[in-house]
């Protein structure tokens, strides 16, 4: 019995201690000039879908849930966000070459079509990020039209 008590106490102390080691927050509160919505026409409908279903991991502004301050969940979340932003960052879309922008748009279309994104581990917790069939079509149509317009102009 005593051993279990000690173990629990140790775990509790570690749990408290790690709460003080918080990763940097991914939210600077402003929309950059390189944000996709500043560069191209993005309807409010599409913007709404992108913000609820994509921006948490694919932009510089994560909308953090209340439990995001609790460790070790915050580390996990920070690593997911870093991974997501490395692949695609809507806030820095303007920094990409036109060729890459087209590739990323094609990637968005394919990932949504294949039901790879939004990723299942994310929609499990964020139920409202799950895209309906019509939501998917709205985003796919927007991305295809934008991609085609980029290839015509360049």
């Amino acid at each position: 019995m005593k051993g279990i008590k000690i173990l629990l106490l140790i775990l509790f102390v570690i749990f408290i201690a790690v709460q003080f080691v918080q990763p940097a927050r991914n939210s600077n509160g402003q929309v950059l000039q390189t944000d996709i919505t500043k560069l191209y026409a993005v309807s409010s409908n599409v913007q709404g879908i992108l913000k609820t279903a994509c921006y948490d991991c694919h932009s510089n502004n994560t909308n953090y849930p209340w439990y995001s301050d609790i460790q070790p969940g915050a580390w996990l979340m920070a690593s997911h966000i870093n991974e997501g932003k490395a692949m695609l960052n809507f806030s820095k879309f303007g920094d990409l070459s036109i060729r890459k922008q087209q590739s990323k748009l094609m990637g968005i279309i394919n990932q949504i079509k294949d039901d790879e994104m939004p990723i299942a581990s994310y929609t499990l917790i964020h139920k409202n990020a799950k895209l309906s069939e019509s939501d998917k079509q709205v985003v796919i149509n927007w991305a295809s039209a934008l991609k085609d317009s980029l290839s015509i102009n360049n």
């Binding site: 570690i14 890459k100 590739s103």
Partner: protein, 205 residues
């Protein structure tokens, strides 16, 4: 067993748990930083290889995308046989070929063209290399990579006869293109099930 030893064992157990737990926590949070370090070292090693290569070939000054093209054709043939693993290997090889490419012989304008294409193509090659288990995902990147390689050949020459082929069915009927070394159609997007589907769109000398 005396009660004392029993107690001792229990404490021993809790120490093991404690160590286990802390290792898990520490590995979890150090993962991100070690990834970055790895990236840093690969970049550094790439730099040195390009320097070596450029110093060797500077005298010759020959622009050749032969290696990159060879990796691409290998990848194309792997996809035609539905072989995701070989395609992934070709993708990884292509990343290396891009790193080894001799830019010293390019003019300033050519460097711009090359960098633009390489920046995009390398990412597709990386994704194809990483996704050996997901052939459909690899093919999506192959579609975009094919456009890049076609433009690379257009800009720098392929040093061999090539065919630019078209598959009308891929991408939900939007179609997709690929480069081939042979006139016979061997479709890399649909694989074995529709191997001969497609047409030659353009012949490149």
């Amino acid at each position: 067993m005396t009660p004392q030893i029993h107690e001792y064992k229990k404490i021993n157990k809790s120490i093991i748990f404690f160590i286990l737990f802390t290792t898990i926590v520490f590995t979890a949070c150090s993962n991100a930083t070690s990834d970055k370090k790895e990236n840093g070292t690969t970049v550094a090693s790439v730099d040195t290889t390009t320097k070596q290569v450029s110093s060797v070939t500077e005298a010759k000054g020959v622009v050749s995308i032969k290696e990159i093209l060879a990796n691409y054709l290998q990848m194309k043939n792997a996809f035609a046989k539905d072989n995701a693993k070989d395609a992934a290997n070709a993708g990884n090889d292509m990343v290396k070929s891009f790193a080894n490419f001799n830019k010293a012989a390019l003019t300033a304008d050519q460097v711009k063209i090359y960098n633009d294409i390489q920046d995009d193509a390398k990412e597709h090659a990386e994704h194809i290399g990483m996704n050996a288990g997901k052939i459909e995902h690899q093919r999506e990147h192959f579609d975009m990579l094919s456009k890049d390689i076609y433009q690379l050949v257009k800009a720098f020459g392929g040093e061999q006869k090539l065919y630019y082929d078209h598959c009308p069915m891929y991408n939900d009927g939007k179609g997709a293109n690929w480069l081939s070394e042979s006139k016979d159609i061997s479709n890399p997007y649909l694989g074995k099930k529709m191997s001969t589907c497609g047409t030659v769109k353009e012949e490149l000398q």
